[in-house]
Symmetry: C2
Subunit: 390 residues, 2 copies
Amino acid sequence: MPIGSFHPPLRTLMGPGPSNVDPRVLEAMSRPTIGHLDPLFITLMDEIKTLLKYAFQTQNELTLPISGPGSVGMETCFVNLVEPGDKVIVCQNGAFGGRMRENVIRCGGTAVMVEDNWGDPVDPQKLEDALNSNPDARIVAFVHAETSTGATSDAASLVELAHGHDCLTIVDAVTSLGGTALKVDEWQIDAVYSGTQKCLSAPPGLSPVSFNERAKERIRTRKSKVQSWFMDLNLIMEYWGAGSQRTYHHTAPVNSLYALHEALILLQNEGLENAWTRHQNNHKLLLAGLEAMGLSLLVEKSHRLPQLNSVRIPQGVDEAEARKTLLKDYNLEIGAGLGPLAGKIWRIGLMGRTSTSDNVMLCLRALDEVLTNIGADINSGRALSAAQGV
Amino acid sequence: MPIGSFHPPLRTLMGPGPSNVDPRVLEAMSRPTIGHLDPLFITLMDEIKTLLKYAFQTQNELTLPISGPGSVGMETCFVNLVEPGDKVIVCQNGAFGGRMRENVIRCGGTAVMVEDNWGDPVDPQKLEDALNSNPDARIVAFVHAETSTGATSDAASLVELAHGHDCLTIVDAVTSLGGTALKVDEWQIDAVYSGTQKCLSAPPGLSPVSFNERAKERIRTRKSKVQSWFMDLNLIMEYWGAGSQRTYHHTAPVNSLYALHEALILLQNEGLENAWTRHQNNHKLLLAGLEAMGLSLLVEKSHRLPQLNSVRIPQGVDEAEARKTLLKDYNLEIGAGLGPLAGKIWRIGLMGRTSTSDNVMLCLRALDEVLTNIGADINSGRALSAAQGV
């Protein structure tokens, strides 16, 4: 029996990413493939760099999408900046700080962990203490917007502390880019990586990164070769660099770049600050509805990400079963908790194109119905009107 | 002035890849994105594995597409199989053997090079000599189908020699998969990687790989951690592995996988051996036309790849200018030479969906016109009828 074509259903993607992709972006992705050294493609690459600089709020020349998902962007930062023997302070307040630690170790570095509870922001005081106790640290790494918890940390302050101790900074902005304030130049972030499938609402598979002059200087003056050939920025720059002469490094994911280009045009046309405001407004609607149902968020108000809402699961609810019903009966995907938060929270994403008031209402109605049907202890029937009243 | 949408022209892609993507595959790529842990997506992943096993002619359970271009597939093989201090024999007869060497070194291994001229196949005698002189070698790596030259090597014999000396084999099948005979199980290849943008005619961005039990055993018994977190097969398998329980590792490039799935269905429907025959037949047409013009191929008849034809550039021709004219006036892309072959050859690809008799005729007519117009010393006007007479 031969295998037939795959026709996915129309899901509403309110998990931790991917988010819903605009039909314009999907259509762009299906435009005819051209060569990765075609002069017209070089123009496209230049435009993507310009649009990414806008999204990151940076003038960094070395701003480009790495040809792999966000994890490759993360690894690109670490393999280029960490040399064997380097000490790196990693602030962990969720799943992705742990992945950073793994990266440091695999680069031959030493990771000094600064731990905060999952759901809390990174505590600047703890970072400062770690910097004082580790004067030989060369890099500070932290997650700006923790996708596993929905907490944001004060990136500007953390970077300032790191610079005060002569450390470079690597910042995970996978979930913040395009959804909430991220100002790479103003905050003086040295190296930053993100993903396409969160608040940019392009399909997953690419990782925008940006490096400032300090980071480039560190890479230029490395004593050892970057351990990854594919992620070696010295080589990647010969393909993505300035000027019309580009040296073949790898075959770029041409159609994925069409999609990213179109998604960035949507962001340009909306305006970055308008997009931030939209994310904030729809978060308020969702929160009003959730609170009217009697549900609460994991993260304190001052550190909440509008695009990733961690909702405490009501007692006695089979959370996996509830998610399955939402998916089956409402074509609605929400996310499970990771690590210590598994079984304790749902993660409701309002990222990129998913962040609309219609989707908020769909989610509130579906959650209300599913939880009421299984007899959960909630205030049934109040969520929608509460959200509408915002 | 805001940046506008990108609308690529309809190119005929007869370079070394990407090849032309079937409209069915482009359409599949633009289907709505679903989550990377959606149960329906897990089904799609399983089908892709089944279809890839067919394409590779293998029963290897560990057969999957890596979420990055072919270079990431290459690096995945090396970082998982090479440990610091390992000696690896690398057969080089073109550009990609050199890249393999870079990978070995960056994994902390020692590369023993077996060199053949660019355009020649790997000489089994030279490999045997190297194996005899290096009884401590643990791996033999070579390129099955050299994209930089158009030469194929006798993979079955090279693997047999390696196994006779207790070495594992890593084989680059980027250009052979789907275009010319590749029999992973029959030839007992231990680890193999390929790309999607050559004879599979999916857009670039994924790298199908396959590992047999011997290779898996080597990975299981490593003394050190795989240096790349993203490419660590121990972790990747928890997401791509058997069973319905999948552990999140990275966000899969969902839409790119839709495209690969559809491209593999086209291959399944045509039949693998029919695809090989089609590639061979269209190569014969092209060759008849080229020879009638007085042009010749770099590679000896017995080692020619039908899907990648390296054509010697006639004396006095500005090859870059000719390619530019082909692109501008005919929307036809052909490839330049790499490394020592730069300026000496063009690379004409007849890969995947590009391999049709219509495209051969278009290419012959365009080449004839362009070369005649610039006064090159060719037999004008004979190519088409020669090809039609095959």
